[in-house]
């Protein structure tokens, strides 16, 4: 086994090389107005194996804007560690110049101004160009999809994921793992997976009745590439039946199952794997912990928490790479595998600047064909925005503020709750809001906007419960995602406290009164995991609200007072 020190030295040398030739250069290039496709793709092929990672696309076939978070608090051992630094601190940590393409792609700050200059990001036809270029360098590169692919748009919802399946198949992935896919319902997931032309992996996807490994989802796949054997082990999102409606896929159980992961690593090593790659939907902090609990993993390609880092993080003797979301990034990972071990690596997080990278014509046509039946409905303009509409952030985002306002007024409620999901592209000031834009931030198979009564005490229980899913100091108890967004309700949160004592000073904003634990409040929300939830779909609620507003302006939200950071 390669020692940690050897490993670090090799790794640092390799990544420093790329730091010099890759992302560090963008600032200068941009200053010279010379950001080109060749520069974005520039990579000195290294070692004998290449991996290509894309994750958390959330059905974004077309280029979009995507604002990175300003607030992403780390707790416990991850306090102040990447990706829990944002904005100017993030740029400082990586030596990224203000106003540079890396600033725009990787961090928050001056988003709307930079978006005007650098344009949209993503688009699976651009992603196809990048994949093809890497395959031109290394024809047997392994393409891995980290999941959250068949969810998140108007056309994806109306085709039950088929649009994404068709386009991804054209990119020819080698393997995939899963999360939101399961919210299509187990019948539909099974139907798609049975016909997938690549491996559907998940060492932690189990049969719920017998708690045995599911037959449809093998734990790993072995690849013979570059004269060596590489094992790719899948790790699906561990908390699907808790964070999403388990009644939609009752036959399946998940969990982290790191003891089974260890068994799988040992098994593939015994079968001759010289390199073990985990294609993970754990979330970044969970992956970092798993890398230190399970021995023998070389690379974790990390998804779920939508983080994007320009360099891998080394945990134990494993490199962990998160590759962003919404089609905004593709990671290339070149590995030198020799004598039964990983001797070095070179990586590059490639931002998909849609105006710089030429779309692949074939995939463009395929995307347009998927969208054609829905184009008229999707393109309908509902309103306009004066504000940047975005979602990422631990406590609120302007899209969520708008959705909460819609719930309060359209459902005549005192308090609104909106789930702290991290998907959904951004809009910049002056943009028209189309039906497609609304669906991009609301589309799901359990969209019912409920209206109910909850006591003040129960509302606190909900806030405490969700807060512990984010701020529990042990990453294994974190589910990813962000705090439930609230409308009409202000509160103080001390992220350093244990569950039950984080939330205080709950206030009904309409009256300024303190929330009474015994009183019942009218609460509207959506995305309930409970079966039988009733109400109109959230996209209709938001569309109706925006139509009435005409032009939307979202005020700064100061209703959550965060302490203990």
């Amino acid at each position: 086994m390669i020692s940690r020190r050897d490993f670090l030295q090799v790794g640092m040398a390799a990544s420093a090389l790329v730091g010099a030739s890759g992302f560090g250069n963008w600032a200068r290039l941009a200053a010279q107005q010379r950001l080109t496709q060749d520069q974005l793709l520039q990579f000195d092929t290294f070692g004998n194996v290449s991996l290509i990672h894309i994750t958390d696309i959330h059905a974004q076939l077309k280029p979009i804007y995507f604002r990175e978070p300003s607030v992403n608090i780390g707790v416990g051992g991850n306090k102040g560690a990447v990706p829990h630094i944002t904005g100017a601190d993030f740029r400082k940590a990586y030596g990224i110049e203000d106003g540079s393409p890396s600033h725009y792609a990787l961090s928050s700050g001056d988003f709307s101004a930079l978006a005007q200059g650098y344009g949209r990001v993503g688009g699976l036809d651009r992603v196809a160009t990048v994949i093809n270029a890497i395959r031109a360098d290394r024809p047997d590169a392994i393409l891995l999809d980290g999941g959250d692919t068949w969810h998140g748009s108007y056309s994806c919802y109306h085709t039950q994921g088929q649009d994404m399946v068709n386009v991804m198949n054209a990119l020819k992935p080698d393997a995939m793992t899963f999360h939101w896919e399961f919210t299509l319902g187990s019948d539909r997931v099974n139907e798609i997976v049975e016909n997938l032309p690549f491996a559907a992996l998940g060492q932690n996807i189990f049969d719920a009745e017998w708690d045995e490994p599911s037959e449809l989802f093998p734990p790993y796949k072995m690849f013979e590439r570059g004269g060596t054997k590489i094992a790719v082990i899948g790790q699906a999102f561990p908390y699907m039946p808790i964070a999403n409606p388990g009644w939609m896929f009752p036959e399946y159980a998940f969990g982290i199952r790191d003891e089974n992961m260890q068994m799988m690593v040992d098994e593939v090593r015994a079968k001759g794997a010289e390199c073990v790659v985990v294609l993970s939907h754990n979330g970044f902090d969970v992956d970092k912990k798993m890398a230190t609990v399970v021995n023998g993993i070389d690379v974790i390609l990390s998804g779920h928490t939508h983080d994007a880092l320009p360099e891998p993080v080394v945990a134990g003797s494993t490199i962990v790479l998160p590759s962003g979301s919404n089609g905004k990034f593709v990671s290339r990972v070149d590995l030198d595998i020799r004598d039964g071990k990983m001797m070095g690596y070179r990586t590059k997080l490639i931002p998909i600047f849609s105006d710089v990278i030429t779309p692949d014509a074939e995939v463009s046509a395929l995307i347009d064909a998927q969208r054609a039946p829905f184009e008229t409905d999707m393109a309908e303009v509902i309103g306009k925005t004066d504000s940047t509409l975005y979602r990422r952030g631990n406590f609120n985002g302007t899209w969520d503020d708008l959705i909460c306002d819609a719930l309060l007024s359209e459902r005549d409620a005192e308090i609104a709750m909106s789930p702290g999901v991290r998907w959904g592209p951004s809009l910049i000031p002056g943009q028209e809001i189309t039906r497609e834009d609304i669906w991009n931030v609301t589309s799901m198979t359990y969209p019912e906007a409920y209206r109910t009564e909850m006591t003040g005490e129960f509302i606190k229980v909900i806030l405490e419960d969700v807060a512990d899913n984010i701020f529990n100091p042990d990453p294994y108890y974190q589910q990813g995602g962000d705090m439930v967004r609230t409308g009409g309700l202000g509160y103080r949160i001390d992220v350093s406290k244990p569950q039950g004592s984080r939330i205080s000073d709950m206030t009904l904003l309409s009256t300024g009164e303190t929330i009474d634990p015994a009183r019942a409040y009218v609460v509207a929300g959506w995305a309930s995991v409970n079966e039988g939830t009733e109400g109109p779909p959230i996209w209709d609620v938001v569309e109706s609200h925006i139509r009435k507003q005409g032009t939307v302006t979202v005020q700064e939200n100061n209703s959550v007072d965060v302490v203990g950071v």
Partner: protein, 140 residues
């Protein structure tokens, strides 16, 4: 050898004895009291005994747990946050190919699943796993 869940359940039922517990004192330390009854206050070591349980329960009403204790003659399982903590005790003999068993537990709230193993030499071991029972919410 790879044991399947069915094998384990079959094995476990063979070695399982319905645990008879008398009236329990209404104390927070009910689990400690129960353990003391079994061990007679002997010291609790650790080593061979492991408890495997999910970090967060998918359904608090039926949480899969597994205990493994090579060299044990008996393993007793407690849920320390339940109104009645005693769950089950498994007895193992020399003919058991594996001293491991699995079952499902109903958990009232977030708590520890505690296991006590009596080893062949008469000593005792303890291990536990914290299982969170949550109302659920929203993913990334």
């Amino acid at each position: 050898m790879q044991l399947t869940r069915r094998d384990l359940l079959a094995m476990a039922s063979a070695g399982m004895a319905a645990t008879a517990f008398g009236a329990l004192p209404a104390l927070a330390s009910m689990t400690d009291d129960e353990i003391a009854k079994i061990t007679g206050g002997a010291e609790l070591g650790e080593g061979a005994l492991t408890v495997t349980a999910p970090e967060i329960a998918e359904n608090g009403n039926t949480v899969p747990i597994e205990v493994s204790a090579p060299g044990a003659v008996m393993v007793a399982v407690f849920a320390d946050g339940n109104p009645t903590p005693a769950v089950v005790s498994f007895k193992f003999g020399p003919l058991n190919p594996s001293h491991a068993a699995a079952t499902r537990v109903r958990l009232a709230k977030t708590q520890n699943v505690v296991a006590i193993a009596q080893m062949e030499d008469g000593s005792f071991q303890k291990a536990q796993a914290n299982v969170k029972v949550t109302i659920g919410g929203c993913g990334g």
